[in-house]
């Protein structure tokens, strides 16, 4: 069970971290675009 949870845990964590990275990059770009337009 430990091996199974380790595998599922790694997959969940990696996807979450990648998703957070995408959100952070999107927010940074939106802020830059907003600042340059106004």
């Amino acid at each position: 069970m430990t091996w199974l949870l380790a595998a599922y845990g790694v997959v969940t964590l990696a996807v979450l971290l990648y998703r957070i990275r995408l959100v952070r990059l999107r927010r940074a770009l939106e802020a830059e675009i907003h600042a340059r337009k106004h």
Binding site: W3, L4, A6, V11, A14, Y18, L22, L29, I33, R36
Partner: protein, 236 residues
Amino acid sequence: MGRRRMGSAILDVTLLISMATAMALIFFYAPIESKMGIVQKIFYVHVPLAWNAFLGFAIVFVASFRYLATRDPKWDARALSAAEVGVLFTTLVLITGPIWAKPVWGIWWTWDARLTLTLVLWLIYMGYLMLRRYVESTERRAVLAAIVGITGFIDVPLVYFAIRWWRTQHPQPVIAGGEGAGLDPRMATTLWVCVVAFTLLFFALYRRRVALEKLRAEADALRDDAEAARAEGANI
């Protein structure tokens, strides 16, 4: 709500439902394999991740061709986005594989054809992503990346057929594996639901990555405009 946002919301809800269904099937419906025990259930994430990584690299292949034919940056953005999600999924294949191998084979890794070619696949597309960081000129970067994206795809069929062409430590195919191959119907149902769930996950991440590239292009254009205006001001 715009059509794009509506599409994303529908995709997210479908993804959540399919992931929840997949997890329920894995833990409460799929039988425990007789030889390997519960650790065999890693199969339900390992295989869909691998297939969707192949899907990602197939998108890189097609989008790179389209970029070279049209020089339209949207194809370059699609290729980059698919490569990034494909590398993420391949990384997870290379992590979940050894976690499964250790309790079953007694070793984390062996240099058999399937495992080695998968590692080579990961290195090729990591190289693709690194190349994009080191070339300054936008067009030159896109052309070089497209060439790597097209040629690198050669490794995908090699990875897929490795277990059919060579004797490997990696298990023989259970889907489309010919005579003697096959899965318990409950395992097969669970696997296909997982494949659908991970394909939706792939597209949810891919769509967001493509949207990010659009924003980046917009920010780059605004930055260029500001620099041009500054240079013009300095010349007066």
